[in-house]
Amino acid sequence: MMNRLISWACAALIVLSSFTVAIESAEAHGERAQMPQLRMRSVHWFDVNVSTVDMQINDIVKVTGSFMPSKYWPEHVQSIEKTAFLNIGVPGPSFVRLDSRVNGVPMIRSTAFMKGERYNFEVTLKARKVGRYHVHPVINVEGTGPIIGPGLWVDVGGDEAAFENSATTLLGQTIDLETYGLRNAAFWSALWFVIGLAWFAYWLSKCPIVVPRFKRVDELGVVNADKIITTTDRRVGFVFLVLTLSLVTGSYMYTQEKWPITTPLQTGKVEVPPLEAESMPLKVRLTDARYRIPGRSFRMELEVTNSGDSPVTVGEFAAGNLRFINSAVLQVTPKDEDDLIAADALRVEGGSVAPGETRTIVVYADDALWETQRMTTMIASPDALVAGLLFFFDANGERYPVEVGGMMIPEFV
């Protein structure tokens, strides 16, 4: 008896733990599945924020931030400079997207983004379904797929039945986008169902049909098999044919009368000018990059030239949506439990770079995030190139984002 109880308890434990595993993997929703070198060398996202994390149905949330397509974009991946679309990563239409802009340009259609340029985005969403959602900005690149940005959790509560989403057509009609046109589509579909079922019923009325007709056709042979078709069958067929053609013609004419003004589906590309380049007093060259696997430590040797008038130092290194912060320069707190920030994981050797000086500094980004976010498989890359965004800060707190990239050497011991 005791053994049986223990067996049942073990079985229940296994089932429960499998649920836990399933829930955990569902929360990850795929960001970590993308190859690290693609994450590091496609789009650098930064300053991603949501205007609220707790909202009700019909409330508005704005997802804002900036991104920079990498200058080290992989050769084998179709370029973001051809066709791309700013999207939002949420589970289905849990929100409706009211507006989406990059550098102020509406992003209803697709566009192209230039490598090395900076873009600010703002997406306005309206809550539609109750739940807890990890909201990500996403850039879909044609031929490449979705390049997902950092996600933040947003809670939506309230009454889904109260959701409203209307629009006004150019003919002045205000429509409810949740239900518009459905009754009409259902009516015509039902009408065709009735006619189709009537045709089916006519032949079913001759039941039994399978065996007797099979035998009769077999007896009559191919040449005489048409004798099985009666005059009534032909008359009914003629009536249905005329009815069908009349209904198609009549309904088409009725529709033309009712909706005389329509336009074809709209598509095309829009142009988004990049932000005007800010004055950049820094020149940074990555001279050596090594990833030490046992210590989960990324080491970069950088040659920095400061032509500005204030000393600068590295405050942050961002790569593949992970942020490594130098706490001596910058205090950053994670916005939620899944905000991928290592708040005290960036160490800089060589100090700040004085105005007019060229100096070699060494930056260490050491954190378990490399491992937990599956970035360590960067050593499996076929070209062993890495890239990331360094944020330098001057004495006045002015921030200078600079992209660095180059070859990476793994260290195994």
Binding site: T83, F85, N87, I88, G92, P93, S94, F95, D99, P106, I108, R109, S110, R128, N140, E142, P146, N165, A167, T168, L170, L177, E178, Y180, G181, N184, W188, W192, F193, I195, G196, L197, W199, W203, L204, C207, V210, V211, P212, F214, R216, V217, I229, R234, G237, F240, L241, T244, L247, V248, T249, Y252, T255, I261, T262, T263, P264, L265, Q266, T267
Partner: protein, 250 residues
């Protein structure tokens, strides 16, 4: 010496009638379910998004791709049901089964599970196309004429048959300085992370069209293609009904 006796299990005409009815009761629902399953799978593979979303039903690709894919099973099964049972029913029945399965799937999967509003994902109306093919087959008794007239009409009439359902969604409106149709607006607002705007395979320009007659030209072109398409798939039905491959195996 043993003597083989063949004794029928059916002893009267009434009993035979009952058996035949029972065969119908078993076979017909199974065939309808089979049609629904096979057609749903085949249609999802070959047409897919063009039928799933209203912002994919354009004037150029949807009326061309859809009839070519939609003709396959009606043509194959028309041959079988006509040659073996003289039943001009396959086109209507397959499309009825497909449409019924599509409504169930859109409601359960797209609307209830994935949360898209039903008016964004309703299935198109194709049942009338099946009726035209079946009636022409019944009246002519010929696959040649059915292909020529029915196959052509099948593709030509797809767009006008759906226009009463579709027209309200192609009314223009303005969003942030851009003109859109109601369909485009729904495609933009109801977020589909995996379906960015550029993925839609829809008409992109008017340079290659003849005046403004985009839809009629596409429909007539699709009609001509569909004549051969119908004949080809009827021929496949002919091969299938002979079941040569079974004889080779057995």
């Amino acid at each position: 010496m043993s003597q083989e006796l063949t004794v029928s299990a059916v002893r009267s005409t009434a009993e035979q009638h009952r058996v035949h009815v029972q065969v119908d009761l078993l076979a017909i629902p199974l065939v309808v379910l089979l049609f629904a399953a096979v057609f749903s799978f085949q249609f999802a593979l070959l047409v897919g998004d063009w039928d799933y979303w209203i912002d994919w039903r354009d004037r150029r690709w949807w009326p061309l791709v859809t009839p070519l894919a939609l003709t396959i099973l009606p043509a194959v099964f028309s041959y079988f049901l006509w040659e073996r049972l003289r039943l001009p029913l396959a086109a209507t029945l397959t499309i009825l089964a497909l449409t019924a399965a599509a409504w169930v799937s859109r409601y359960l999967n797209f609307h209830l599970f994935a949360n898209f509003p039903m008016n964004m994902v309703w299935p198109s109306a194709y049942i009338g196309l099946g009726l035209i093919v079946d009636c022409i087959l019944l009246l002519t008794g010929s696959f040649f004429w059915t292909g020529l007239l029915g196959g052509f009409a099948f593709a030509v009439l797809l767009y006008p048959m759906n226009w009463p359902l579709l027209a309200p969604f192609q009314v223009p409106l303005e969003l942030h300085g851009t003109m859109l149709t109601v369909s485009d607006l729904m495609g933009f607002e109801y977020v589909r992370t995996a379906i960015p705007e550029y993925v839609r395979i829809i008409e992109q320009s008017t340079l290659r069209t003849f005046g403004e007659a985009v839809t009629p030209l596409t429909a007539v072109f699709a009609g001509f293609l569909n004549i051969m398409n119908f004949w080809f798939w009827t021929w496949i039905g002919y091969l299938g009904s002979k079941a040569l491959w079974i004889r080779k195996i057995v």
